[in-house]
């Protein structure tokens, strides 16, 4: 019955270059002889390398395998954390547009009220000047408290998990541009200040 259900999705016109990419991938995949020769050459080269420096190769492969395992574990842990936030029944989603450096980015907060943790993602924010950093603030019953320092050198999204301060209630959030080392209280340009 579901054979034809895929036709329920509306068609989308592929970009012109996609056809060449799809066909190239298909036709490349059907040339086992070429790949076999390449694989054989690679295997021969590898055998020579192993013969020339078996100990070095063993150590390198071992180190790479360990690094791969470490990264895989880290990614899995991160995915679990993110999944916990997103699917948590008490998670609240807050999205804040941020205008800085002539562009508009956003800060998204997943606020987990049960675990008193936030997951914060910054998208599209302009990279900082070399001596500046974004600083995130909690607005609490005790006043403004530093939450996190986020030096941003690259034009890439940034994600971080924050523990909420103990023994006080967080009533809002703010973000400013501060010196690279951070400030004890906001002194620089305030990008947003929001009551939650």
């Amino acid at each position: 019955m579901t054979d034809w259900l895929g036709m329920a999705a509306s068609p989308r016109i592929p970009p012109p270059e996609l056809k060449a990419r799809a066909l190239a991938r298909a036709f490349a995949a059907r040339r086992p002889r070429g790949w076999g020769v390449a694989a054989g050459a690679a295997a021969a080269a590898l055998a020579l390398a192993l013969a020339g420096g078996a100990v070095w190769a063993r150590r390198t492969i071992g180190a790479l395998a360990a690094e791969r395992a470490r990264l895989a574990a880290r990614v899995a842990a991160l995915e679990d954390t993110v999944a916990t936030f997103i699917h948590g029944p008490a998670t609240r989603l807050v999205q804040i547009p941020v205008a800085v450096g002539g562009r508009v980015g956003s800060v998204t907060i997943f606020a987990d009220a049960v675990r008193h943790r936030w997951l914060v993602r910054c998208d599209g924010l302009a990279p900082n000047a070399p001596d500046r950093a974004y600083q995130f603030w909690y607005l609490t019953d005790r006043g403004v408290e530093p939450a996190a320092l986020m030096p941003m050198d690259q034009d890439q999204p940034m994600v971080m998990a924050l523990e909420l301060p103990a023994a006080t209630r967080v009533r809002g959030v703010a973000m400013s541009i501060e010196p690279r080392a951070g400030s004890a209280e906001p002194r620089g340009t305030m990008l947003f200040r929001l009551a939650l």
């Binding site: 019955m1 054979d3 895929g6 036709m7 509306s10 068609p11 991938r25 298909a26 059907r30």
Partner: protein, 184 residues
């Protein structure tokens, strides 16, 4: 089909012209991400080329076979890559859409895509389902959710979900059984 099995490269290019928009549409519907959907499209046609000998025309038409590859690839990507953030950002939209139409209204130029009448028939068959049956079908097909996951998502008993799916499948099967490939 015959030309594909004869490994005629031009036949694959023609198949792409005919099905590319549908494969991309399906992958995009599942993934909600243009770059990922395009990656799926490239994988699908490579897989079609590699496995065309496994397709048995007596057991089913070519279009559903290609679409099933596309769906599996897209769902694999959805599960593997777990673009939680993008999905989360679309959380609200997705939830709203679950209760609405099976698919957004088409743009006018889409009607020029080969296979459009067949799309309308499948769309109409889905639209004819009662809302609660359509929802379970869409969750199962486009999100790849198991019966238990659908039950949890909708807050409905597992037995209810299974019953709705079974009834919906029967209705769709009856209504769509006359469909045939429009390809030569």
């Amino acid at each position: 089909m015959r030309r594909l099995k004869a490994r005629e490269e031009r036949a694959l290019a023609e198949l792409y012209d005919a099905l590319g928009p549908w494969v991309l549409g399906l992958a995009w519907r599942i993934l909600g991400d243009e770059a990922e959907a395009e990656e799926v499209v490239a994988d699908v046609f490579a897989q079609v080329w590699r496995r065309i000998d496994r397709h048995d025309a007596r057991r089913g038409a070519l279009v559903p076979w290609v679409l099933s590859i596309a769906r599996n690839r897209a769902l694999d990507a959805l599960r593997r890559r777990r673009r939680w953030w993008r999905r989360a950002e679309r959380w609200g939209e997705a939830r709203a859409a679950e209760g609405g139409e099976a698919d957004p209204a088409p743009a006018p130029h889409e009607a020029a895509v080969p296979g459009w009448p067949l799309h309308r028939e499948v769309h109409a068959a889905l639209a004819a389902l009662p809302e609660e049956q359509r929802r379970v079908v869409l969750l199962a097909y486009f999100e790849g959710l198991s019966h238990s996951e659908i039950a949890r998502r909708l807050g409905e008993p597992l037995g209810t979900v299974k019953t709705r799916l079974r009834i919906a499948q029967r209705k769709l099967s009856e209504r769509l059984q006359h469909l045939k490939d429009w390809l030569e």
